[in-house]
């Protein structure tokens, strides 16, 4: 029974996408038109703070709960996502310092809070907190959509353990939400971009930098014909928007000390006020070039008001921006790639709104790399919404599937596939490996089975044509720029080369120029197409099977027949090909 055919068997299921973060959570739904829509809760927030607070037995959630961090920190639970499914010893309680503290409770983490009207505090486990949080998210979605939401696709970081996933599934179940699938946050971001109607599915290497509130995660993803493979990830559990908040807190605190001789950071309540306002100021600086901060009765009953401009803020936080950049570079080198290999950088997460981060990150990459952030690209999607949009698209795709179907499809037997180590393509211009220019059809890291088609121009005068299919590897060449512009690039590497290439590179920079080049590794096959017409094109189709056998078809566009042939799979068995 195919997955599509069972769509009608669970008519009662309504799934949404949920992104569940330490700082913020979001909900989104993809309707019949296929466009994901991020749902605002009753307070009008699309980024709903992952915070719960209790005041005399009443539960507050989201922004309302966040405000309680000032007056009622002990009964306010925040930054709890990463505590879920972990032992007390494993958790880092730093970010929960200004709210209810996590404590050890049996094998899990719990909070001691006054969540009822009784005098004694209750011990509430992090699972129970998560359940309450998800219940509120689902009810906000249900109220907006007008029907009961009972299932979801939830985004998680790439380093989320199975234990954490199981704990989250349980917690969601208790809230009446059936988790259909967990998807990785960076992959959800790529899907959010690829699912737009104007997007074209292509072969590219994408870096997704998820710059969050209390942590940042970077993933390098090979996107090949709409299939995604994570090549490497890098995590920083301490880097995030809260570090930028801290920069502003320190800046304003120093100003306050200068004027009033008392440090607002030394009083918990003053610090909580300053933190809340600094975060708002930071957000204002992402949109405008100046922002004000004003806090009533900041410390010792003194009101405080100050202005900061964006340039000043960027100077103060340049160190933090550099850390973001280094984390991204770490991830790329972990994938054993060069920055030149990256086609696209997707900035995701709340901190990606900062214009300077986009320009600092963009400067690390060559100009050919697209940086998708609000300040660098008009077509960028709101970085705060990427993960949840991806989740809601996935939710709409699998809503009708049975659990068994989803499990079978996500089983390693299906997901593990051989990925090409080198590119496969055709040599053009000349059959000689030194002179020929390599045109990749299948990029490295493409999962097989895969099929690609490309068209090549034939020599001007027509005639007999040789199609040479080769395997090639990417090499990075660096060279000093020549004093004269329009130097033939090949001359620098190999003096024996003739002027074959019409490729000119006239960049007059002093620093050394690094570039990507293809080096032919092995010739796979040759095919001859005879008597092509003047100015016609040859279409080549390469089909790589899961056993690494190759079928090649080449024919002149518009002509009948053509040449077909196959290349045997490699003699040595590939480790456990499925």
């Amino acid at each position: 029974m195919s997955a599509e055919e069972v769509a009608a068997s669970t008519p009662e299921r309504h799934a949404i996408g949920i992104s569940f973060g330490n700082s913020h959570s979001s909900i989104a739904n993809t309707g019949a038109d296929g466009k994901p829509e991020v749902i605002a809760n009753e307070e009008g927030d699309r980024q709903i703070p992952s915070i719960l607070s209790y005041v005399s037995g009443e539960e507050f959630h989201g922004t309302q709960a966040k405000a309680q961090l000032v007056r009622n920190p002990k009964n306010t639970v925040a930054y709890f996502r990463d505590f879920l499914g972990k032992d007390f010893k494993q958790v880092d309680p730093t970010s929960a310092h200004a709210s209810a503290h996590p404590q050890q409770h049996e094998s899990t983490v719990a909070f001691s809070i006054h969540d009822s009207e009784s005098e004694t505090p209750n011990t509430v486990t992090v699972s129970e907190i998560t359940t309450r949080h998800i219940r509120r998210l689902a009810s906000s979605a249900s109220e907006y959509l007008g029907y009961k939401v009972n299932a979801a696709v939830v985004t998680v970081p790439t380093d989320f353990s199975d234990k954490q996933r199981a704990a989250l599934t349980e917690a969601a179940k208790a809230a009446g939400v059936d988790v259909l699938q967990f998807i990785h946050e960076p992959v959800a971001a790529v899907l959010a971009y690829d699912a737009r109607p104007e997007a074209k599915v292509s072969d590219k290497i994408v870096v997704v930098a998820d710059l969050g509130g209390t942590r940042s995660d970077v993933a390098v993803i090979a996107s090949r014909g709409g299939l995604y493979t994570i090549l490497a990830t890098a995590h920083d559990p301490e880097l995030g928007g809260s570090k930028l908040d801290q920069v502003l807190i320190d800046h304003f605190a120093k100003e306050f000390v200068k004027k009033h001789k008392t440090d607002p950071r030394e009083n918990a309540r003053s610090l909580a006020k300053l933190k809340l306002e600094s975060e708002a100021t930071k957000k204002a600086l992402s949109l405008g070039t100046t922002a004000t901060l004003s806090v009533e009765s900041l410390a010792e009953g003194i009101d405080f008001s100050a202005t900061i401009n964006r340039t000043r803020y960027e100077l103060l936080s340049s160190k933090v921006f550099g850390e973001f950049r280094r984390l991204i570079e770490t991830a790329v080198s972990k994938a054993q790639l060069d920055l030149l290999d990256i086609d696209e950088v997707i900035l995701s997460g709340g901190s990606s709104h900062t214009p300077k981060i986009a320009s600092v990150v963009g400067a690390a990459f060559p100009e050919t790399t697209t940086v998708l952030a609000p300040s660098t690209s008009t077509s960028a999607i709101n970085p705060s919404e990427l993960a949840v949009r991806g989740a809601s698209i996935q939710a709409s795709l699998i809503e009708g599937f049975e659990h068994e179907d989803i499990e079978q499809s996500t089983h390693p037997v299906v997901t593990v596939a051989p990925h090409l180590n080198r590119a496969i393509g055709a040599l053009v211009i000349s059959a000689e490996e030194h002179h020929g220019i390599f045109r990749p059809l299948l990029e490295p890291e493409t999962a097989v089975p895969a099929r690609r088609t490309a068209q090549f121009a034939t020599p001007k005068e027509g005639g007999d044509v040789l199609i040479k299919i080769v395997e090639a590897a990417r090499e990075i060449h660096s060279r000093k720029p020549e004093p004269k512009p329009k130097a033939d690039e090949k001359k620098d590497d190999d003096d024996e080369e003739d002027d074959v290439s019409d490729f000119t590179d006239s960049e007059d920079e002093e620093e050394e120029i690094r570039e990507k080049k293809w080096k032919v590794h092995t010739v796979l096959a040759e095919a001859a197409i005879k008597a092509t017409k003047k100015g016609s094109k040859v279409e080549v189709v390469i089909n790589v099977g899961s056993d690494l056998g190759i079928q090649i078809t080449a024919r002149e566009v518009g002509a009948q027949g053509g040449v077909r042939g196959s290349v045997e799979k490699p003699a040595t068995a590939v480790n456990g090909s499925a």
């Binding site: 195919s2 997955a3 599509e4 990785h184 992959v187 899907l191 690829d194 699912a195 709409g226 299939l227 995604y228 493979t229 994570i230 090549l231 698209i393 795709l397 699998i398 079978q408 499809s409 299906v414 997901t415 593990v416 051989p418 990925h419 090409l420 180590n421 496969i424 211009i429 000349s430 020929g436 890291e445 999962a447 097989v448 099929r451 020599p459 005639g463 007999d464 044509v465 040789l466 040479k468 590794h521 092995t522 010739v523 796979l524 096959a525 040759e526 095919a527 001859a528 197409i529 005879k530 089909n543 090649i552 040449v563 196959s566 290349v567 045997e568 799979k569 490699p570 003699a571 480790n575």
Partner: protein, 53 residues
């Protein structure tokens, strides 16, 4: 490129080498193209068979 003189082969096609070993990696089970891939793999269909259905 132009066909060198004297090149000939059965049915105009000559297989020369074979691919270098591939790496086993895990795909992300996300998106419409993956679902199509999973469907093909579970039913052991090829691309063209899949298109005909």
């Amino acid at each position: 490129p132009l066909l060198p003189a004297g090149w000939s082969s059965d049915k105009d096609f000559k297989a020369v080498g074979s691919l270098s070993p591939a790496t086993q990696r895990s795909l992300e089970p996300v998106g419409p193209h993956f679902l199509a891939h999973a469907r093909r793999k579970r039913h052991q269909r090829t691309f063209s068979e899949d298109e005909r259905i």
